[in-house]
Assembly symmetry: C2
Homo-oligomer: 334 residues x 2
Amino acid sequence: MNDKGRAPTISQVAKAAGVNPSSVSRAFSHPELLSHETVALIKATAEKLGYSPNRSAQALSTGRSGNIALVVPDVANPFFPPLIRGAQAEADRSAFCVFIGNTDEDLRKEELLLRRFSGQVDGVVLAAPQMPDERIRAYAERMPLVLVNRDVPGVPRVLIDSAPGIGEAVAHLAGCGHRRIAYIGGPGTSWSNKQRHSAIQKAAARHGLALVKVPNQLPSYEAGRQAVQSIEGAGVTAIVAFDDIIAQGVIAGLAARNIEVPRDVALVACDDTLGVATYPRLTTISNQSEAAGRAAVSLMNDILGSRVARDVRYVLGTHLVIRMTSGVPSPPPD
Amino acid sequence: MNDKGRAPTISQVAKAAGVNPSSVSRAFSHPELLSHETVALIKATAEKLGYSPNRSAQALSTGRSGNIALVVPDVANPFFPPLIRGAQAEADRSAFCVFIGNTDEDLRKEELLLRRFSGQVDGVVLAAPQMPDERIRAYAERMPLVLVNRDVPGVPRVLIDSAPGIGEAVAHLAGCGHRRIAYIGGPGTSWSNKQRHSAIQKAAARHGLALVKVPNQLPSYEAGRQAVQSIEGAGVTAIVAFDDIIAQGVIAGLAARNIEVPRDVALVACDDTLGVATYPRLTTISNQSEAAGRAAVSLMNDILGSRVARDVRYVLGTHLVIRMTSGVPSPPPD
DNA sequence: CTGTTAGCGCTTTCAT
DNA sequence: ATGAAAGCGCTAACAG
């Protein structure tokens, strides 16, 4: 890793400190086994030489790399950066390093990545909304695996449950007097969409609201804009969108028809990836994706320490964040 | 990396194929040295056993890990995800794996991260807007380093030059008849802000526009909202904001005063991190951050292959993307 | 408490 | 074209 002259090794430190290499090793990994003085001496000389343990060598020797991989479909999709951030932060706490992988949902890339990680990660945290269950199971067979937002029984997973947030959202809308609302979905096959869809159906029924369901395959601005035409004349006064990006597209599509949010129609989004940075600020359902990242890594940690049984299912709740697009109740000063 | 039974090793493959371990090694790293048949045989049995080389072992043996680290201040800041994506994509092309590090601009975290990477990365790509030059130089001394958006002579760097885009923006505004514009800045100490500020100053002078400069320390929505009060009554008809997030805050601040974008004032943002996903869609200066990520990794690649001299300075241009917030010229259909 | 020794999985001379 | 052997930097018994 050094430019000129390689990084100092354990034996150089040992020689400089006048001890055996293994003592240097112990000074770092099991200081309890050494006298305070030797530890101090060793650490001092190590510091002086600018030594730090070579992690590849440690990995090879111990069979544990102290690395994990975080594999996501698209780093740049606003859902993931907070997830990554949370994962990285949690990894930091236990001195793990995190590899990042981007699959674009492409099976070949996935394979390649995982192969490339082999021998240098202890486990992988995987977000793969579209991957078939069996494939996931196969991976889980080969290595410690934690899933994000995929509910595959038998595989440890952390799930973000939109139901509570959606419940609040629907209650909020019902309370504002809306009787007929629309749900503009996301990728039909994704676990999240199924889950959100069924949650809103239940909530709408519970509050006696009519629900218009707009299917939609892509979680994009453009898709949101297009979706608007499907609800023209449907008489809805409020819309719930699958995510923030779609919601922005919906705003644009409505604006093109001279319908203004929230003046003419109320809008609730999901995920809260954009909400704070947008005008009008989105009323949205917080997705906790940073927390999910943390949870996933923490779960991985438990698994690697085998402090945990096989089939863990960690569910995070959600809640409604009322800002401007849902109208009525005076929004926070903003 | 396996759950039950460790991953197959080179010698297991060797035994199964009836050859020497070193031949297996060669089959993967230097197939030219072997007869076609042996290579085929070895690859086949490797495949059958599900073997792939242990990268830690390779790293230890060769002194090259094939990994690089990408260290950024905040993964979740919308500027970085595309950068990360680009870096990862480029790394993929040369079979590199990418570690991700988040510093929050905290020196201790930086140190920790870099130390943690030691021995398992060949180099690091660093984005650190606030780090003192000397510190950066010190890092560069210790390891192959590529900088993003920091212009430290002697250290290889890739820079995004906002000047062209800003030039276009100012010309565009001047062409729309604006005579008096404001620039709402970002973190004063950052290279980007200095660079954008001087670019806009020159461009304004060139077009004979009056320029009101609004200093501002934070690149946040709230900061943008606050900044609006500084230009009240300044008579500006157009605003250029340091980045998209600030721009959104500006829109909110203006809206609070019943000033509407673009009806009453034109707005140009920078970075194009939010532009596509927002309403009204921001006219903004594309920052090419994905390209910058690619370039940085590609540069690192060159450096590691020492195909390149010391002091490289790779500059990416920018351009104006006209959407809705700058008014007048009919925006794209959307 | 600390030194000795034998690998971890792979690459790389050096032989043949 | 392939085998044999040493060693990358570190850890983990095992002695003492």
